[in-house]
């Protein structure tokens, strides 16, 4: 049962990645692309981490994986912010 | 097993840190370190003479697991030359960089370069050789860029890129060897290597990389700009030692590791390109306008002789004749090391004194710098190969060997090369000893000229009169090599 749930979570995470990548390629401007990249990828990784946490019983490993996810959230937010700001500045010039 | 082997490396590295932390005492620290390195090299050489080749496996691990250091007569003689040249150049550099804006970085870099030279000559592990090559290359690049002119930095950038390519080729060769023989230790490898695709391709890649670094014609094109625009003591070490240790590596690898796979065609290629280098380098040196460029082109020609020697040694059967020629090769390399460093230091003094090094405008400078020009003349004797220099003995041996073998074309190359060397050296001397003098720029201290003189005297008189000693030392290890 748990195994099945984990599989579903990870698979939907992978689908998120796919959707995000398509978005990156297809969306019209840089802001939309960033949106696709950060939101969807973070969610995608989150789902995969959730799936992996379910599969492994070791709590220390689980905490580590969740930490990795949080770190990625923070850094991708920072990077998206930097890129968007740079793009805005270039537009206003 | 003796820790003596790490001392030259360790002393220089520790001194580099010392100069980093205490920049105000840097020059003193560097001099003491260079003197101590020379002392440790002398101890090492005497140990080699007394007990034969020395080994050390760092960390106390079994062979193959730990990194091995190794000194035999060949490497010990190169070490001795390196330490002596470094000491003289260090003393010279004290005045030279005194007012440089880069002096707080110069000294640690200078000592890192020496570390790399010693480490490379002692290395007996393929990957360790790669790391020391990178240290050598990067410290040499940085030091030559400290020349501070646009030309110096541009030359340094080219040198860096080519050096990186050279190291990459070398590293690719290491990968192939590791893939087949699963070892990096030179001695272990020498026991198991056998002719075959792996060894041939690795040999080609590694040799190509090292040839690029040792500036054999036609891969010499980066050298003149680098050596002519670096600070004088740096040029001296670059020309006398840095390209030569790359040559040393080729020699070491071909004699000890690639031995089973040496083909006479490959060896002949060294000879052909060496001969071309002799003619082309000397030709350029005859017509170049600047003294330091002249010295740089002369280095290309002299490296050509070394490759010519090597090609002959490689195809000779083991025995007394081969040992004689190998001794001549080493004697030639040593003489060139001392003579070329003397020439570059002299050029540095001239440049500081006259404000430039354009040969045509050096009329009468010799009258004001008699000691420097005396050294320059002595160095010239060694570069041309006149008696009583060490290179005279070496060339004599080369001529007699080739004549006996009926290879008259090599004789022609050597004779033509020597005549051309005569022309380019006398061109400088005749102008400098001319009559009217140029304006003096500043009071000159005789002491500054002493390191130059010491190097020139070593090249021409000591190595010439004591040349037999080199053969005798090499004979100690005649039986050995790495195997």
């Amino acid at each position: 049962m748990v195994e099945l749930l984990a599989g579903v979570l990870m698979l939907s995470g992978a689908v998120m990645f796919l959707v995000g990548s398509i978005g990156l390629l297809r969306l019209p401007d840089i802001y939309c692309r960033l949106h696709a990249l950060t939101k969807v990828d973070n969610l995608g990784l989150g789902l995969i981490v959730a799936g992996l946490v379910l599969r492994h019983s070791d709590p220390r490993l689980a905490i580590k994986m969740i930490l990795v996810w949080i770190l990625l959230l923070a850094s991708s937010a920072a990077i998206a912010h930097l890129i968007a700001r740079q793009a805005l500045r270039r537009e206003s010039e | 097993m003796t820790n003596l082997l790490v001392w030259p490396v360790l002393l220089s590295l520790a001194a580099a840190l010392g100069t980093l932390i205490a920049p105000s005492n840097a020059a003193r620290i560097a001099t003491v370190a260079a003197a101590l390195s020379l002392w440790s090299v002398l101890l090492l050489l005497s140990a080699v003479i007394a007990e034969g080749p020395q080994w050390l496996i760092l960390g106390g691990w079994p062979q193959g697991l730990g990194i091995a250091l190794h000194a035999d007569p060949l490497s010990a003689l190169f070490l001795l030359m390196s330490a002596a040249v470094c000491l003289a150049a260090t003393i010279f550099a004290r005045r030279y960089v005194e007012h440089s804006r880069y002096r707080s970085q110069f000294w640690p870099l200078w000592l890192l370069l020496q570390t790399a030279i010693y480490a490379l000559l002692l290395a007996a592990d393929l990957f360790n050789i790669y790391v020391t090559l990178e240290l050598l290359g990067l410290s040499a690049v940085t030091l030559s860029a400290l020349g501070g002119s646009r030309a110096a930095v541009q030359a340094a950038v080219n040198y860096l890129i080519l050096g990186l390519l050279g190291s990459l080729l070398f590293l690719a060769g290491i990968a192939l060897i590791y893939g087949r023989y699963a070892s990096l230790d030179l001695q272990l490898l020498a026991r198991v290597v056998e002719p075959g695709p792996s060894l041939w391709v690795a040999m080609a890649l590694m040799t190509a990389g090292l040839v690029l670094k040792s500036a054999l014609f036609p891969l010499h094109f980066w050298l003149p700009a680098v050596h002519a625009n670096a600070p004088a003591p740096v040029s001296a070490v670059l020309s006398a030692l840095v390209v030569k240790v790359a040559f040393y590596l080729i020699m070491r690898l071909w004699l000890d590791l690639f031995n089973p796979a040496v083909m006479s065609t490959a060896a002949d290629l060294f000879g052909v390109f060496g001969a071309l280098a002799i003619v082309w380098g000397s030709w350029q040196a005859m017509f170049t306008a600047r003294l330091k460029l002249l010295a740089a082109y002369s280095s290309i020609a002299q490296l050509g002789y070394l490759f010519l020697f090597l090609s002959l040694v490689l195809v000779m059967p083991e025995g007394e004749d081969r040992q004689l020629l190998l001794g001549a090769l080493v004697l030639f390399a040593l003489s060139h090391g001392f003579a070329k460093s003397a020439l570059f230091l002299a050029a540095g003094t001239v440049q500081q004194y006259a404000g430039h090094d354009r040969i045509a405008e050096l009329r009468g400078v010799a009258g004001q710098l008699p000691l420097t020009f005396f050294s320059l003349g002595l160095a010239g004797v060694a570069l041309i190969g006149l008696p009583p220099s060490g290179s005279f003995l070496a060339k004599w041996q080369l001529l007699s060997t080739t004549l006996l073998a009926g290879q008259w074309y090599w004789v022609a190359v050597v004779v033509v090369g020597s005549l051309m060397a005569c022309v380019y050296m006398f061109r400088v001397l005749s102008v400098a000893f001319g009559e009217e003098g140029v304006a003096t720029q500043r009071i000159h201290s005789r002491r500054e000229e002493l390191p130059t003189l010491a190097l020139a005297v070593t090249a021409t008189l000591i190595l010439g009169l004591g040349g037999v000693w080199v053969w005798r030392v090499l004979d100690v290890g005649a039986a050995g090599g790495l195997g």
Partner: protein, 329 residues
Amino acid sequence: MMDSWLFDVVDALLALTAVVLAAMSVLGSDQKRSIVLFIAFGLLLSLIWARLQAPDLALAEAAIGAGLTGALLLSALPYSTAEKGACRQQRAWADIAFNRALRGLAATLIAGVAIAMIWALDDGRLQSVPFTVSEQVFGHLPHSGVGNPVTAVLLNFRAYDTLLELAVLLCVALGILALGQPSVPVVAPGPVLVLLVGILVPLLVLMAGYLLWVGAHAPGGAFQGGAVLAAAGVLLLLSGHRDAWLPGPRLLAAALGAGLFLFIGAGAAMTLSGAVFLEYPEGWAGAIILLIEAMALLSIAVTLVLAYLGGPPAPSPSPPARHTDVEGH
């Protein structure tokens, strides 16, 4: 069965994509595009390392190869466009036909080298090799003081290489201090960035420490940790801290030399008691290695931050005028 088939597909995809990305990056003519492709290539490479069971390298490649090298190249981009014009001019006089012939020759030669290498690799491992280094490493691992074989090789069995490698890093740092000029553009950080830097920098420092600690028995170590710590420095630089919290010249020199100093000190101290250089006493090896690694991490991080900064750090709140002063006449 199914698994191995799937892995083959993944391998083929990874290898092919890596080659295509590399070719597009190297042979393309738009520099910016090339660099971005190179970074993507680096990330892909780190996947390949992971696939080839080299997690230590995957970490290092992601942080150093793709991350830092990419950042360095990107930050050099504005300078390199000026250079391009100069090169065009230079090429104008070159004989085009000769040039083409030379290029053709080079391409043929390089293709020949590649074929020769494949031929050589086809040889495979020599069967009669008495023992391999790998077996030796695992045999002596219990005496090395650490459990991670890569760390054991780097800091114990082949510590001398690492020692010289730290010297290489020092050499580069000195070159940058001597000739470089800080090149990071000054930007006013927005409130979001300040907040995020406040979170990320301590986290990165923590992570560097963790990587150092864990390197003793699992993937990680001084190099990966140093790269992560350097990332914290780069983040500081990008958010307006012009000195990236680097200390003044004296302390900076000390930080640059710290790794080497400890290495030499620890290595030489043992020789006094009759041991071989870099031979650690049994039982102490783990502690000595951790200590050396901690100092090496510091030196590595400082060097990498300097590399990104491109010159000696300027005092942080300085107006641009100070800058020319430092370069002086």
